[in-house]
Symmetry: C2
Subunit: 331 residues, 2 copies
Amino acid sequence: MTDNHNHQQIAVEAIKKKLVGKALSYHEIFAIMDEIANKRLSPVLTTYFAAAGFKEGFNDEELYYLTRAMVATGPRLHFKGIVADKHSTGGVAGTRTTMILVPIIAAAGYQIPKTSSRAITSPAGTADTMEVLAPVTFSPKQIEHLVSKVGGCIVWGGHLGLAPADDVIIQIEQPLAFESYDKIIVSIMAKKVASGTTHLVLDVPVGPTMKIQHVHDAEIIAKKFSFLAKKFDINVVIDLNEIRQGAGRGIGPILEARDVLQVLEQHKHRPLSLEAKAIRLAGKLLTLCNKDLVGENVARDILASGKALAKMREIIKTQGGIYIRAVMSMR
Amino acid sequence: MTDNHNHQQIAVEAIKKKLVGKALSYHEIFAIMDEIANKRLSPVLTTYFAAAGFKEGFNDEELYYLTRAMVATGPRLHFKGIVADKHSTGGVAGTRTTMILVPIIAAAGYQIPKTSSRAITSPAGTADTMEVLAPVTFSPKQIEHLVSKVGGCIVWGGHLGLAPADDVIIQIEQPLAFESYDKIIVSIMAKKVASGTTHLVLDVPVGPTMKIQHVHDAEIIAKKFSFLAKKFDINVVIDLNEIRQGAGRGIGPILEARDVLQVLEQHKHRPLSLEAKAIRLAGKLLTLCNKDLVGENVARDILASGKALAKMREIIKTQGGIYIRAVMSMR
């Protein structure tokens, strides 16, 4: 009780300090994140913190402290060995590369416990689309079990409460509809560290309707992202790509699921631009995991041979779902 | 409904604009104050505004706009002719000059509808102390009536809802325990304009335990205050005074009331430093109202002759209270 009270005092003093433009120590940032994660900081005080960060920005050390403290104040996933992951900064509807990439990576023998979001900036998140085929709500323990069994999973991350302070701050940023680039980077990295990621491909679509609209901004983000990844011993490859439209044909969970299944089944009418993007990202991730691999070739082979399809059937079954053939799902 | 929605949008965009360091127009500031005054802006959005103002400060034009908009979005008091007033930036316990000054000014023939606060930085506000002697909760119409009858009143300002946006913002500032000097000035001036004040003595105590701790800060405040007063056609005299302790003997409503009554009754054991401060402030206000008066002499005469005491009895009776002699109140 006294400890909590002290923490609250440290947090409030630190928020004031940040509001007048001073940098914060790990001790101070931890106090704020701990208060937020445990829902002890009022919305008003949390807003002062969000406003302070938005105005002043954070220096590299502070970005590191923020990420570390967000992870430290929530649960974590535990794996041994290489843990591959993929993340997109988002903003593109109808481009569900994740559901093609995960079975490719798992089929290649790497662990990939993929946590995804529901719809934020597009009509369907990957979690919504995967839910067409299988349940997506699991506990951290269950996810560790899924991955030990079939190498990969595609689940809803919102249920896990990884880096919980981040979720609270995002809520507070909602009414003003702003999130600084610093905040985007910290949000992503905190979730990855909490997920146990060791190797990551980061998809950064840039374009007029994307979250990141200018290549110049994307480069700043990439640089800060690489700095943080290094701090947390995460091997990262960033795929900066200019985009004008979605790579799949459908928009919405069912149509996007159909696009994915058509690619996995190597259907003759499958969306080739979606396939190409998935192979490119999976390829980069594979080469990151093992520099001796020509990743794109390996990814293409796994897809063409039906191994990715077989792995996806396994994943769906293990998550408790039923595989529906793409042709069936077209009716 | 559509109008409210538009107002909210203008307010939110303006808050963002201020957060990135840009100055706001009257139109924008009015939208924010209108949303806040009518309780349509969430605590989170109100906090973003408070944080933005705290960080960036306001230029002189913005300070004027803020004050004007705070007044325009609430009720006002209406009087004809000179309306005298006194205000203290506060922080000194046990210095209830107001309750001596008001009857002096009213006895001199000037209108003085004094609205006071309850305890903020000290154990008793003037409203709390006056309430020992008479009711202090009245409507704007009732206050206009009180003043037309006996020239003055000492009432609780919190009930009136003058400049209501200011009250909401002060609430939002509470958890961080900060209020910028700009905000202090705007708060005071908005209440004065809404009260119909035309002539004002501003008591600015400066000292290590006061709201304003350095003479240098007090001078900046005095300058900004004079700028705003001019904009609103208020004649102001600022009494900058260094203080180390309260001028009365008692702290708390009943003991402070006793101090005041002893001065009004010219009791031989009355607190002379409190009397001296009240005479100085009343004198400055009288000279401001009529430059031909040697204010301090007039104030002292009114007090010594018992006219101030008689006026205070009238005020207490008109507000519905009963006069208690200081000797009685000492038991």
